[in-house]
């Protein structure tokens, strides 16, 4: 592998700029004449806009312009759309209500944008926004999905009767019902997957620049997928045609899904720049982020799992209601359907599965993909149910899982997915060994001697990454293909630039993608630049989400490298008068195998560009591009074990041990992969123990709108983690990699909740397991 090749824990190339304050995030950007935007937002969860009076605000110091939704509509700026079509089981299409970038008649959640104020300073823009008088006719609001479906509730969109967006199903209902009817045992649960705020540490920001001389727009934005942003803003929002719109996502401070979507602010700032004649920068404050960034999760489910007399699962039936908020965000419809129900087989051979999913409008901010996106919801539901079943059946949780593992591959589940490879037993064994599972009873007894309640819990997760085969997702309703592109440019001196459509917002692509080149050609990663995040530099790309950069983005680089290597070998063979098939590339040299003939890499590159002596008919240059469309999803899987101590006096939970055993297939940079798992686990622990978005159900006000109210995991809430890797290579892509970005957030919540409920002896506990809830659950059984 070499010191910088595949499999080496290479320190990151990008770190120096971040460590020295030289990172360039969107809010760090400044251009001549730039002014500041502040948005007037709805203070009500649901209201009619009767009038907007800007007269006083327009005279405030520093104000350059104030723009409202009617002007936006007059300029034919389009509605924000959801890009994944789902049909209800009756065949009708999902009911997409209009989402105006600036509301012009109705506001539907607290934070809905109503107008934009542009001023010389942020303070002046904020002052003027406070002076804009919006007269609202306040309407009743509904924030909870289950309630929103009931008769007589406030209606959000005329298209969606009873706020129902779609009523969708997957699998065989009759087969699942039959399995349950004939079962020796049925485990039933009600599962709530709590609503979360993604909270990348960099708040969203955008800088819209309109150049009237060129009739051209530039948009700096905090995006995980700048090309998709450009495509959607051109094709659907009518901001500008693609050739007149450049989107740049420079350094981006975390995303976790929330920066996939195209939000009102990017669109409005570009439009406002043209209207006001000045570059317009908007930066979200944290409360605004809580109010307007797409949230995650928020599922209510009932589940029935059927077992035969040998404790084999014979059927699974799931009914889920998912809250999608006030409007349908870009991928919102895919999350509780094709990213959720397709994973309900978990690691288990389940002959009959049926899932019914209803999605619902409520007066809350839109809900879309957040780290894991549907797969954490599926895993939490299954793994809480498996643990509960083990307790009911009186068997060990490990034994019940072992008995039901899928063991032969490929394995076709009843819910679309075809698992290509895996070894679930290996991860289970590794996790149990690392956690000293067998020593738990002694530790529990020791803790009891100190008056503490000790518990242990496991979860065996599977996810689908490498999103996604374009034809497959197209047939399921996706509005785009989910391939990736790459271009490898070898310079005349042999240094290399790689243009990728993947986007790094913390994942370390500048290092790991460069490792591919170091591995292939034996040149130092310092000689390789990874270029991403700019639609003027990279032709096209689908961006980074769903743990797809490695499996899809890197595979595109490999395809381009194959072409570069083939051409370089042709040139080298010609120059050394050898047969092309005898050329090998090692340590930065092209050699004729079995001889001492050799050419340095840079000399072959130079020959390609001088073109003085190329094989007959060969074009000059050494630059190749490729598009890679995966043939299947990838299926990372693993086993997590959590051990806790609950203080019965206070209900406080301490995580005393957290073990993760993951199978990500082949690994490019173990240090970076471990970092991804650490971060994912922390977010999963956050969900299970601390985090919860809470809207006041009466008036729709967001109660948890700052870090004083929303409990982000801090360093002293978490332990250090014990990780291990099992590596069954993925057969579906050339590198054999599966993806590691989301696993931690998927596998950890059920492990932790299984541990706490084990400790307190009461299974009736919802996330987040706050001390108050744990204390109450404990005292309910004592």
């Amino acid at each position: 592998m070499g010191v910088e090749g595949i499999g080496a824990s290479v320190a990151r190339k990008e770190d120096k700029r971040f460590l020295t304050g030289k990172g360039r995030y969107t809010d760090d950007m400044s251009v001549p004449g730039m002014k500041y935007a502040f948005f007037v937002r709805s203070p009500h969860a649901h209201a009619k806009i009767k009038s907007i009076d800007m007269a006083a605000a327009k005279d405030m110091p520093g104000v350059i312009g104030i723009l409202e939704g009617k002007q936006l509509q007059a300029d034919a700026i389009g509605n924000i759309i959801c890009g994944w079509m789902i049909h209800s089981k009756d065949g009708s299409p999902m009911k997409m209500g209009a989402w105006r970038p600036l509301a012009n008649d109705t506001v539907r959640y607290v934070g809905d944008a109503v107008a934009i104020v542009v001023a010389d300073s942020l303070g002046e823009a904020r002052d003027a926004a406070e002076a804009v008088v919006v007269d609202y006719d306040v309407l009743p609001a509904v924030t909870q999905a289950v309630k929103a479906l009931e008769a007589g509730q406030p209606q959000l969109h005329p298209e969606a009767a009873n706020n129902l967006i779609f009523d969708w199903q997957l699998g065989d209902a009759a087969a699942a019902d039959k399995a349950i009817a004939e079962a020796a045992h049925v485990t039933e649960m009600k599962i709530h997957n709590n609503r979360l705020a993604p909270n990348p540490m960099e708040p969203r920001a955008t800088l819209g620049i309109y150049d009237s001389a060129e009739d051209h727009y530039t948009c700096y934005t905090t995006s995980q997928n700048p090309h998709v942003a450009r495509l959607v803003m051109s094709a659907f929002y009518n901001v500008a045609p693609e050739n007149k719109l450049r989107v740049i996502a420079p350094d981006v401070g975390g995303g976790f899904g929330s920066k996939i979507y195209i939000y009102p602010e990017e669109i409005v700032c570009l439009w406002a720049s043209k209207k006001t004649g000045v570059p317009v920068k908007w930066t979200c404050d944290r409360t605004e982020a809580f109010l307007t960034d797409a949230h995650g999760r928020d599922h209510f489910s009932t589940v029935k799992m059927a077992f035969d007399k040998d404790n084999r699962i014979t059927g699974l039936k799931v009914d889920t209601i998912a809250n999608l908020g006030a409007y349908m965000s870009l991928f919102s419809s895919a999350v509780p359907t094709y990213l959720y129900a397709t994973l309900l087989s978990g690691q288990y051979a389940i002959p009959a599965i049926h899932a019914n999913v209803r999605t619902v409008y409520t007066n809350t901010v839109p809900v879309d993909a957040y780290r894991g996106a549907g797969r954490p919801e599926a895993t939490y539901l299954l793994e809480r149910t498996m643990e509960t079943a083990a307790r009911e059946l009186g068997v060990s949780p490990a034994e019940l899982r072992r008995k039901n593992f899928v063991r032969t591959f490929p394995y076709q589940t009843p819910v679309i997915m075809n698992y290509d490879a895996g070894d679930y037993e290996a991860s289970l064994e590794a996790a149990m060994a690392a956690a000293d599972w067998n020593g738990f009873a002694a530790r529990k007894a020791e803790a009891a001697g100190r008056g503490m309640k000790r518990g242990i819990g496991m979860s065996c997760y599977i996810e689908a990454c490498g999103i996604a085969p374009s034809a497959a997702v197209g047939s399921l309703g996706a509005g785009v293909g989910l391939w990736e592109s790459a271009e490898v440019r070898v310079n005349a001196v042999g240094t290399i630039e790689v243009m990728t459509g993947s986007h790094s917002h913390g994942q370390g692509h500048e290092t790991t993608f460069a490792q591919l080149i170091a591995d292939r050609f034996g040149i130092p990663i310092d000689n390789v630049n990874i270029v991403h995040g700019d639609t003027d530099k990279v032709q096209m790309g689908m961006g980074t989400y769903g743990s797809r950069s490695g499996a899809v983005g890197m595979s595109a680089v490999v395809k381009a490298l194959d072409k570069v290597e083939a051409k370089a070998k042709k040139i080298a063979a010609h120059l050394m008068e050898a047969d092309e098939s005898d050329i090998v590339i090692e340590n930065g040299e092209l050699k004729v195998a079995g001889t001492d003939k050799t050419l340095p890499w840079f000399q072959v590159a130079l020959a390609a560009y001088t073109a003085h002596n190329l094989p007959p008919g060969m074009e000059p240059g050494l630059k190749e591009g490729a598009f890679y469309d995966p043939s299947n999803f990838t299926f990372p899987a693993g086993c997590y074990i959590c051990e806790v101590e609950v203080d019965p006096e206070t209900g406080t939970t301490e995580i005393v041990q957290f073990v993760a055993a993951d199978d990500f297939g082949n690994i490019i940079n173990p240090m970076i992969v471990e970092g991804q798992v650490h971060g994912g686990i922390a977010q999963g622990i956050g969900q299970a123990l601390l985090e919860n978005v809470h809207y006041d159900p009466q008036n729709g006000q967001l109660i948890t709108a700052s870090y004083m109210d929303y409990a982000m995991p801090r360093a002293d809430d978490l332990p250090s983690f014990k990780l291990s890797h099992q590596n069954t290579p993925c057969p579906s892509n050339p590198l054999g990699i599966k993806g590691c970005g989301e696993a931690g957030a998927i596998g950890s919540p059920p492990a932790l909740m299984n541990a706490i409920t084990d400790a307190i002896g009461n299974n009736n506990l919802t996330m987040p397991a706050t001390p108050q809830k744990v204390w109450s659950a404990l005292n309910a059984v004592n």
Partner: protein
């Protein structure tokens, strides 16, 4: 408007700003020192930590006018030419950062932590001391490891976890 003068990273600087300007905005907007970040509005996240007269402070919670006459050190001022400060080097070696947004605040907090605790720094202390700095990427595992490694490198005796 106020004319505010201070010493930042060894340079005497002065600029006109609105009276309400926070130190972090003065650094970012008036001095173009954009390494210090704003991650929240409530003094919780610590992305804005700088040193004021030798002690770590959250620059979002001090008016620029309050910092007049003081000596400020920011993330841009701690490395020696091309050479990283030992805390910066430890964060790089131990993968103590991912997206980099919280990193300047983490590094400035860590330097102050090591200055105060020196050889007494252990994992529990580091985790408790990081209560005012939020990271969403790393799960803190490698940040803790980085700070312990830096403390050892800078003269502490406790070794890093693992």
């Amino acid at each position: 408007m106020a004319k505010v003068k201070m010493t930042v990273n060894g340079r005497h600087v002065g600029a006109e700003c609105e009276d309400r300007t926070l130190l972090v905005h003065f650094l970012r907007e008036n001095l173009a020192l954009t390494g210090t970040h704003v991650g929240c509005d409530t003094t919780q996240c610590g992305a804005c930590v700088v040193h004021m007269d030798g002690r770590s402070v959250k620059s979002c919670t001090i008016l620029a006018a309050q910092a007049a006459g003081s000596t400020i050190l920011t993330i841009e001022g701690i490395s020696n030419g091309g050479e990283l400060h030992p805390v910066q080097a430890a964060f790089k070696a131990n993968h103590g950062l991912q997206c980099g947004f919280c990193t300047p605040g983490m590094v400035m907090t860590a330097i102050d932590m090591i200055r105060r605790h020196g050889a007494n720094l252990d994992e529990a202390t580091v985790r408790a001391e990081l209560d005012g700095n939020i990271c969403r990427c790393t799960g803190y595992h490698n940040i803790v490891k980085s700070i312990l490694a830096a403390a050892a490198e800078m003269g502490g005796v406790k070794q890093a976890a693992e």
